[in-house]
Every structure is written in structure tokens, then in C-alpha cells.
Amino acid sequence: MEFKADIGLEVHVQLKTRSKMFTRAPYYYGAEPNTLTDPVVLALPGVLPVMNKEAVRKTVQLGLLCKCEIAERCKWDRKNYFYPDSPKNYQLSQFDQPICNGGEVEIEMLGASRNVMGEHRMVQLTRIHLEEDVGKLTHFANDSLVDYNRAGAPLCEIVTEPDMHNADEVFAFLTALRNNIVAAGLSDCDMEKGQMRCDANISVRPVGQEQLGTKVELKNMNTISGVRNAVAYEIKRQIHAVMSKEPITQQTRRWDPVTQVTSKMRDKEESHDYRYFPDPDLMPVAISAELKEELGKDLPELPFDRQRRYMAELDLPYTITSVLCPDRALAEFFEEALAATKGKGEPKAVANLIVNELLRELSSGEQEGSLPLAESKVTPAHIAELVVLTEEGVITKQIGKEVFIEMYQSGKMPSAIVEEKGLQAEQGDDGELEAIIREVAADPKHEKAIAQFKEGNKKAINSLIGPIMKATQGKADPRKIMELLAKVLG
């Protein structure tokens, strides 16, 4: 029997705002426990919430980014439940009037190979609403500690339709969603810092069956790859269960990233009655057409749109664009560098230098992970100058690599480095170069290669280029060498 899986996600994204959702206390990751609090965060007697308008604006932007319908009016509801991470024992959220309804996110599936663009499709969203985050509990053998730093941070909940059907689609969705949100500056979406969290609802059904199967909720996935692994495992588990005639019950399961299996947390019967009702301390929110328009103007080009543009207008290959485009900062760095060449640099040369040289150096330092682009001494102006120097033949490609390393380390401009070290390619005096070529060609150890060349194997003389380059200290233009070599060898 063939099975089809249906997967819907609930993704929580912490918005990047200075203050919390309903009070002025700040929020950022990594502070000492319980230092980012105030009477409102701690729910002391008598305090009241005041809405953070910036968080609402950012949620509207998120909605616009996802092509949601933005509500003209939304309100705040209390979700009542007791848990020590929730200081009020109710969470301010949006029950029946979310800020955003519907919407979609474009995803890209894996291509046939790394060099080929994969299939693109839309994943449908149900809604996006705004709420406040809860604190963080740490459990010990005999007690638990609670840190309220995170409590009250603005949190968007993005709910998808059961519109994904395998783990790779889920991975592609989370990647695209994260890239879009980061590009728009709404959140950093670092899952390991809890800035993005994901629960998955998974069910399976025999192919051909209309009705969705019984869904299981999956929690505790801490990376995008973790979500992919957990979903893949859970689909297999459910198919196996159905094949073995074990009924699937509605339940919540926990992913264990160490053992890579899911296990039952609780059954549906234990689920809460949250007793939602409109919060009497907060006013409903009106979102005007003017505000929507204003916020829409602030949105960046989405990564996939940018990629299509680079490929069509700049004739960049898919492989390069798939590195440049998901990262807005990198793409903008590229565009600035390209602009700085003032038309004298090929887009592909600029992109190659960034993707091949710069990214490699950024990731090769002693730091953990890659050095952020902004912390590099190399600016778009550096890249542009280096590309132009190479393209105009002032320096050779070989020397260009040397100049790159030097400018990456010192931050000096390429022209200054070339000047300082006298790295200009030899110009005009073919006689000197020809003499060197004759000398190298006369070396008996190249006899065989030259013979092969003369017999018609054009590639055979490539082995001479290295020694010639060496003899010219790398300053010779390889095209010139080829030209003269052909002449010398007759």
C-alpha cells in the first residue's frame, strides 16, 4: 500500500524589537537570568499591559511578505492556563481575529544536482498572529528554576495548512521562511537561540483516500535539520504503525535529537480548555490601508525574486545565485561591489570573487562558524577595484589571488597593494618574456611535452606555463604566454 503524508507547521518567530510585547522592558538573547524584567513582566499585582506598536507593524510586514490578507481590525485575547513559565497564568494572544489571514510562502525543492534549480511551489498559510512569549524553565532533580527574561517577548505564530507532504518540503519551507524573515529584518530566526521554533502536525493516509489521517503533534525540534529528521522519522513510524494495524491516536510526541526518535508526551484527552476571552485591559487594533501601504514600501525583494533577477538580468549561473541570494546582506554587498565597478566589471567576476574567495576566507578563520560579512575588512569597493584591475589586465588573475589575501588581511585597497609591491603585469616588452619562454622551452625536461604538442596535443604545453609564470614572478599575462609559446614552438 502506498501512503501520503500531510504535514502542517506551527512556527513561532520572535520579532526583533527593542522592548517586549506589552511593556518597555528590553529583550535580547543571552542576558543573565531574570534581568530583563519589570513589574509587568513579573505580573505583579496591579500592572497593566500596553501594546508594542512596532511589533504589530512588523507582524503586518510579515503578513505582507507572505501575501496574507491583513485584517482591518484585530484584538487581544487571554489564553488561560497554569504553567510556571507564564507569569500571569494567561498568555496574551489572538484567538479569532489574527492580524494576518491566509498567505503563502514560495519554496524550492532540491534540484537534480547542485547546479540545477529545483522545482518551486507555494505552501499555503492559514494565519499569522501575534502573542507574547513565555519564560524558560530549567529542571533539576528536586526543583526547577524559571527565567522570565524571555517572558513577554513579541512572538509571531505562523500556521500553515497541511500542505507539505515530506520532510524535504518541510525543510525547504522553513529555510525559505527564515530567509524571507531575516531579509526583511523582522527576526534573526536563530533556532538555537529560540528565535524560531517549530511544531509539526503530521498524519498519513493511503494514497487515494480523501480524508486526512489522525494527526500527531511533534515538539522539541531545535534546528531546521532536526525538524526534517523528526518529520521523516515520524512519517515512517506512522506508516509502519498503520501497516501493522496499530491505531494512530491523537497525541503529542517529543523528538529526541540524541536518539533520533519520537516518543509520546501526552494524549489529546489531556489537552487544555484555554478559556479564551477578549483581554479587557487592551483596546482592539485598527490597521489602516495607509499603514499597510507605508509598511509595504519598506519590504525587501524576496530572495527567490532576487535570484530570478540575477539569473535573467545579470546572466549569473544558478549555483552562484543560490549562494548569494538567500542572504540579503551578501546579495547587497554584491550589488554594491558591482555598482562600484562603474560598468568596468563583469557581474560574474564580481560574484565569483565574493562567493569563491571572500566566503572561503570568512569561514576559514579560527572563530566558530563564519565571520560575519560586516566584520570583514573587505568592502564592496575593495572587490570592485580588484575586479577592474584584473579585467583591465593591470594584474594577472594569479596576482589577483595574492592581492586578495593581502587585502583580506590588511584591509588595504588593491591598487595600493599592487603599487607597493610592484605587482603590475609586464606590459609591452614581449622580448623579455619571449626570452624567458625560450629558456624554459630549452629545458630538456620539457622535451616530451613539446614533442606531444607538435604532434597535435594542444594541452601538452600547459605543463610549461607554471615554470614560465614562476620565472616571471607571476606577472606575465597567461594569454600572452600562450600566444608567444605558440610562436616560439612554431
Binding site: G46, V50, F82, P84, P87, R275, P280
Partner: protein
Amino acid sequence: MSDLISKTAAKLSAMLAAGEVSSVEVTQAFIDRTEAVEERVKAFNSCDKSWALAQAEASDKRRAAGQASGPLDGIPVALKDIIAVKDQPLTCSSRMLENFVSPYDAHVTELLKAQGAVLWGRLNMDEFAMGSSTENSAFQTSRNPWNLDCVPGGSSGGSAACVAALEAPLSIGSDTGGSIRQPAAFCGVVGMKPTYGLVSRFGLVAFASSLDQFGPFSRTVEDAAMLLQGIVGHDDRDSTSFKAEVPDYRAALTQKQGPWKIGVPSEYFAKGLDPEIKAAVEDAIKFYESEGCAIEEISLKMTEYALPVYYILATAEASSNLGRYDGIRYTHRAKNAEDAIDLYYKSRAEGFGPEVKRRIILGTYVLSSGYYDAYYLRAQKVRTLIREEFMQVFQNVDAILTPTTPTPSFKRGEKADPLSMYLNDIYTINVNLAGLPAISVPCGFTSSKLPIGLQLIGKPFAEADMLAMAHRYEQAHTWKDAVAAL
């Protein structure tokens, strides 16, 4: 007994301004009075005498330097134990918060401090403002200064009793369904609930957020106007706080001359109203008539639904508002709990009194899945109808006149049945549901020497007219001069 304590706040303010008396002398007089009668009245949960005197000294220094900040500078104001004052207890008369000290000031507290008022004591109340007699206080039942066997009303019973007993010239209470006006009527003082949104609720421990409002207690309408002036104003920490020009309430007392068109709702004079109260209120109607006011008989048909609507909405909000008292952070915490859930159960079982538990259970029930539409949602709709009915009536009248309570004060322990206690608020609850301002002023005594209250209900934010109307009545009568013999 110093004769300072029998003077109104307005008079004391004038004496301070004229240099006839110091704030330290005034404050000391009320401290002495409190020490003399408090054992019988039991209005206060706690008093910080040295802090009060320090504030008074600071006030005198300001005045000596020519920097006195207004009519409240140097005047003692006692506060219901539901208002946050930095470094002072904030118990709400509950075991749950018995040891809680507030680390922050309410907006009202900030305003009073800025105006130099001498904050004096923490006043007893029904636990979390739930009740009509202070019998629900976890600590003590306050007494009615007019008859120590009787209750002072509630929930702001301590606030009313302390003013009636001359332990403070002014006090602040809070009113969710009548919690200022009913005790004011029972204790023969003036008590006023402003329009919802006029006074910031920041720092008012929430019972029912959509109904709660701070308000003043005093012995005269002028004093109430003076204290109201000191606590109104927009506060951006309260999203329901109203932004508007604030009139000069004290000046309005004499500027606004009427004659007014006064509505008298027949539903408020029906079955259940004490005949002596009925007679006293009818005399008040005759007074206004004699002053040239047009008296219009009106009908508020939705009145009969007010009580059930109130006990659905107020308890629903309370069940959620009181969730934060859980034994985890700053409240009473039960010993020997097995886990977090057990800690909740035990801490809340020990920390809350029976009436609070009753209302939490009621509120939890009406919000529960399957009951929400039938109770909470329907009650919200009826609340809208109640508000609309008032606004309809206010197209034809300037104010509505009613008794404040159906009966005078009663003996402690007399109303064991919660429902009969709830019925005490039938004339005041509507006002909160509609968000309107209302005031209770003394309008006589029963044959057994218990005070009677007259309620005037105003249009939204028309406190100035309402106060002027009440002032007119008060000035033509001598009730304000009567002092309970203690």
C-alpha cells in the same frame, strides 16, 4: 480630641495655605485620632506613622520655601489596601498577599506624591475587593462608626469607615460594582466613582478590569472634587485611560447652576427598597424640584439583568486576573507541595478565602468551552444593551437620581447567604456595567441612626455637573455636619 480632625480637607488646605497650622500638626491630629478609635473601628490593615510624619515634615518645608504644590499638599490621604505604593504593603486583605510589599507606585500614588499629599495607612477591604461588608477580609471586619455592630459596607469599607471616624479627612477606594458608593452610603460619607477611564488603573490590583475604577471618599462634595482633581489624568501605562481636557471640578461646584433635568427610574423604587430610604430619597427629589429642576420619571428596564450580567463578566475577568497568585513568585506559598500543580492547588487553597474561591470557580465555569456563548458572550451583549439604555435616557436628562442601596447597613454576620449580599449592589452595579460616573451623598438617617445614601448618576465624563448637583443638595442640608459618636 483636636478640632483639626473635624475640619474638611478644603478647610485644612486653606489653613495650611494661610500658615495657621502645619502639616505635621494636622497629620499628628489624625494619627492621635486613629490611635484613639482604631481599636473599635478597625479601618486600617496597617499604618506607617513615621513615614506619614516624614511626608508631613517635607510638606511643611516645601511650604516654608514657597514651593507648596497645591491644595492637597500636606493633607493626609488614606489608601485602600489595593493601591500600589512603593515600599508599602499591598495585601488586598488577602492571605495570598499578606507579606507582599509593592516595589512600584500606582499612577494615582505618583500623582498624590507629586502633589504633596501625606499618604496615610493601608485600609481594610473585602479580599480582592469581592464583597459588600469587609467581612471577606482575611484579617478583620471593619466596623461602621455609626453602629459598631454593623458593617461599614464594602468592598472599600475601611476607606469609608476611616473618613466617617475622622481617622483621615480623605481616602481612596475602588469601585467595581458599588464598592465606593455602597460603603459611603452605609457610613454617611461622600463616595464617588468616576467614569471608566478617567482615573488610571495602573497600580490598582485588578478584580474585574473592565469595571474597576479608583475614586475618592470624603465628608463633603467639595473635598471629593478636590481629591478627584488630584487623581485624574491620562496615563499611557493604562490602555483604557481617557485622554481629554480635565475641568476644574471645585470651581464647577458653584459655576454650574442648573437647573438640571433629573431622571428618576421607577425600577429603583420597587419591591425590596427600605421604606425609610425611599422616604429620604423622595425628600431629595422634592428638594431638587423646589430648586427648579425638572424631575422626569424614567424607566431602566434592563436593571433586572444587571446582577446576573455583572456576576458573569466580573467573575470571568477575576478568574483570569487572579491566576497570577499561584505560589510561584511573590504570593503565599504552600509548604510540602509535590510538584508545580500541587503547589498551585495548595497555595491557592490556603491563600484565598471562600468568596474569592467562589468567584474564581464561577468565572472559570462561564468561560469554559461549551458554556462561553451561553454565559460570557450573552452577558457581553446584555451589557451593551444596558449601556445603550442609559445613553438613550441621557438624551433627555442630565442625571439620574436613585437610592445608593436598598437597605441601610446591617449587622456583622447577618448575611450569611452570598446571594443576599450580592443584592446589596443592585442600584450601583448598572453604573459600572455602563462605565458611568456616580456619587453617593448622605441624605439622612434611619430611625435606628444608620446613614442613608443618595446616588446621582452622570453622563460619561460629566463629573463636574454631577458634583455640582450633589453639592447643591449637600449645602442645603445638615447631614454633612453629623459625626458618629465614638
